[in-house]
């Protein structure tokens, strides 16, 4: 059995040289903070777009287009698509599906310089029954067939003209008026403007066209037969995807970019912080030569010295890691707004933590402590007790 050096010995040691402990743990905390924040952001992007998808909905776009923005479907085909037997019916007998037009418009940012693309969607009258989670949280619903629009709550107040009662220009002398604000459980629709399908189409010269058709299926398993029937019709030239799959693709580029950036930063940063921990441990071991010699003389084995110092450096790094992770959780209150590469439009995200992210952040801290503490601990374990006690 290995004789263990009491944990309290290590913990007290950390408090003896407080400023050094704080500096080393602070460096580690910053690394963990950056790492966890970036992962939370990347997760936030995936989640925000993922929440836009309903599990039993299929999206139909023109073959070859990879986003609603570049897709176009003739109005006459919409009825054909929705007439399929796989498509669910609404209580009034109408098919439960929507043909929508999706575009982006440039609006002036508020609180920051420049303009950005905001997604604008022309929606049919039954959109609220189709997307059941959408709720008007302020103002009222837009009157069908008018220039009234409603806006997602995430972009409210972020752009010029995007607040209750304000207007923005879709085309000359035809201002669109914001009459309501809606929520959709934190999905990317909350970063969109919704207006009447026909108004939007005529304002942008897209008469007789929609960008995409979404259909609620009787049952999610019927996607294959729905897909087969539509994709095999050469006259249509269309493409069918599960809505979840579509939004996964929409978030892939941006979230991959942010993850890659974050991992690269974390690697460089952690090398720096690891060396910081190493310096601290080396110094604390050099200062405790006599103590280590005494411990060895008392009968503690090399292994227990090694373990003891590894524990000390792990305690140091976990302390830093915990501070960093908690600080990163605080980022949950920050809203991050950027352009999504796939949809070319501004989407507001939040930093969303998961247990997995917090765990891997702590793991990163532990690894930094382990690697940073290893060589100093080996040095301590290899000390000759007699020489060490003499302080040579």
């Amino acid at each position: 059995m290995i004789l263990m050096i009491p944990l309290a010995y290590n913990l007290r040691n950390l408090t003896v040289r407080l400023s050094t402990t704080i500096a080393a743990a602070g460096g580690l905390a910053l690394v963990v903070f950056v790492f966890a924040s970036v992962m939370m952001l990347s997760n936030g992007i995936k989640k925000t777009l993922g929440r836009s998808a309903q599990p039993d909905v299929a999206i139909v776009m023109r073959k070859g287009s990879d986003a609603e923005l570049s897709s176009g479907i003739e109005e006459t085909q919409v009825g054909l698509i929705l007439a399929g037997r796989e498509v669910k019916k609404q209580p009034n007998g109408q098919p439960d599906g929507v043909g929508e037009v999706s575009l982006v418009i440039l609006l002036d940012k508020l609180g920051a310089d420049g303009v950005s693309n905001v997604a604008i969607r022309g929606v049919p009258d039954n959109v609220m029954t189709f997307r059941r989670d959408v709720k008007i949280v302020d103002g009222r619903a837009a009157q069908p067939g008018t220039d009234e629009v409603i806006i997602g709550k995430a972009i409210r107040g972020r752009f010029k003209g995007l607040d209750l009662g304000q207007t923005f220009e879709m085309r000359k002398n035809r201002p669109a008026k914001v009459v309501g604000v809606f929520s959709d459980g934190g999905s990317s629709f909350e970063s969109e403007i919704w207006g009447d399908l026909n108004t939007i189409r005529s304002s942008f010269g897209r008469e007789g066209m929609v960008s995409s058709v979404r259909a609620r299926l009787q049952d999610p398993t019927q996607l294959d037969s729905f897909k087969l029937r539509i994709e095999q019709d050469p006259q249509l030239g269309l493409l069918v995807m599960r809505e979840a799959e579509y939004y996964e693709k929409q978030s892939a580029g941006t979230s991959l970019f942010i993850t890659a950036m974050g991992v690269m930063i974390a690697i460089f940063f952690s090398i720096g912080a690891m060396i910081g921990a190493m310096i601290t441990m080396h110094a604390s071991i050099a200062n405790r030569q006599r103590e280590i010699g005494t411990l060895r003389a008392l009968g503690f084995s090399r292994l227990s010295i090694l373990t003891s110092f590894l524990i000390e450096s792990m305690a140091l790094s976990l302390l830093g890691g915990a501070v960093g992770a908690i600080a990163a959780l605080g980022m949950g209150f920050v809203r991050f707004s950027t352009m999504n590469f796939a949809s070319w439009s501004e989407i507001v995200f939040t930093f969303e933590p998961t247990p997995g992210i917090l765990l891997s952040a702590m793991l990163l801290a532990a690894v930094m402590g382990l690697v940073g503490g290893f060589f100093p601990a080996v040095r301590a374990a290899r000390m000759n007790p007699i020489l060490a006690m003499r302080g040579a």
Binding site: L30, V34, E169, F268, G272, M339
Partner: protein, 387 residues
């Protein structure tokens, strides 16, 4: 030997610790340089924008087209030397869906308007005579594995179907902001191949003006003319256009800026830690120095001098590391694979100088507090102190 040299030599007392500190801080410098280079590479498009070029697009949205006849109106505006039009085509390489590159249908005069794209005269002539011809950037040509005379098939995302092209020319860049991964072909070929309804529409107009100082006035004049028409326009200098594109990504840029400040904080903690440790171990020596007649100021100079030496060393090592890693490794990779976003990924000389200055500055700041404390200590206290 003067005091500064003594201070500098103090850094060699604990060679192992100094080495670790320099390596740690140098890695931080490397990370800092990497982040700043990402930021400066992002700005290249705006920094090197042509001063005599204007862009005209649809006022409401960049996805909406302009009527083709607008080009004639723009060409007639006084002060406009040349103007050409283009359409974003949005092609995909059927062999690799994830390759992103710009594919644009252009009016032939665009080659004169964008004169920073260098192309051999015989290749240019061949392209002008070939309806299905294409001109490809050298980086993209390498990636697609094509040479002059090869046939290429691309899939259209906005204009559906498979499109056949012949590569007639490969252009090189005369300026570092040029995206060397563009695929350009005749606008006429596009226009005659698409349904009637979509024809005779252009994405944007690029014009060159005689006098760069009159850019704002000419832009206003163009927009004024079209203000009365069905489709209104927004005209601005190439620089403003590039800047407004970057503003869309401003949140990411801000985040990178914040992260680059955090790395400086980490670096300061590494340096400060080492300095504080050194001071603590040598407190008795400072007492001896004071006892033999050195003033508190001298003690301060010793400590700060040592910190500056370590900081300078870290900065220089960091810069030396960053050149092969950031410029030769990452830079080459990004230029070849993400050319449309980072056409020119190199470390700016100012970034290197800034990195070294900041490292020295931060190590000085990190040393000030321990130096102040050590110099305030009374001789007897210092002598009594046990490290």
């Amino acid at each position: 030997m003067n005091l500064i040299t003594v201070a500098a030599r103090n850094a060699l007392r604990n060679k192992f610790r100094t080495t670790l500190t320099v390596v740690g801080a140098a890695v931080a410098v490397l990370a800092f340089i990497m982040l700043r280079t990402v930021l400066s590479a992002w700005n290249v498009a705006a920094d090197y924008a042509a001063k005599d070029r204007l862009g005209t697009r649809h006022k409401v949205s960049f996805v909406l087209p302009l009527p083709k006849k607008y080009i004639d109106t723009v060409r007639a505006v006084p002060g406009i030397k040349q103007a050409c039009y283009s359409n974003w085509f949005g092609a995909k390489n059927p062999k690799n869906d994830n390759d992103f590159f710009a594919s644009i249908a252009i009016d032939p005069t665009c080659l004169d308007v964008y004169d920073e794209m260098l192309i051999e005269p015989d290749q240019k002539a061949a392209w002008l005579a070939d309806r299905k011809g294409a001109i490809v950037g050298d980086v993209l040509a390498k990636k697609l594995g094509v040479k002059v005379g090869d046939r290429v098939t691309l899939t259209g995302t906005i204009y559906p179907g498979d499109w056949q092209f012949t590569v007639d020319g490969i252009y090189k860049a005369a300026r570092k902001s040029v995206d060397r991964s563009q695929f350009m072909f005749h606008w006429e070929y596009l226009n005659e191949s698409i349904p009637e309804r979509r024809r005779d529409k252009i994405g944007w107009i690029t014009s060159r003006i005689d006098d760069p100082t009159k850019g704002a006035a000419i832009s206003a004049e163009i927009d004024r003319i079209f203000d009365e028409k069905d489709v209104q326009t927004a005209t601005m200098s190439e620089r403003s256009m590039n800047l407004s594109f970057m503003a869309m990504l401003s949140a990411i840029l801000t985040a990178l800026n914040i992260v680059s400040v955090i790395i400086l904080l980490i670096m300061m903690m590494i340096l400060g830690n080492t300095i504080a440790m050194g001071v603590r171990e040598r407190t008795r020596e400072y007492g001896v120095l004071r006892a033999v007649g050195f003033s508190p100021r001298h003690i301060g100079i010793f400590i700060v001098g040592e910190a500056v030496t370590v900081g300078l060393l870290s900065g220089l090592v960091g810069v030396a590391l960053s050149y092969p890693i950031v410029e030769l490794g990452m830079g080459r990779f990004l230029e070849e694979n993400m050319g449309s976003m980072f056409p020119y990924f190199r470390i700016e000389p100012t970034t290197m100088i800034l990195a070294v200055l900041l490292t020295v500055g931060l190590s000085t700041i990190a040393a000030i507090f321990p130096a102040y404390q050590a110099s305030k200590l009374s001789v007897t206290d210092a002598l009594r102190r046990v490290a």
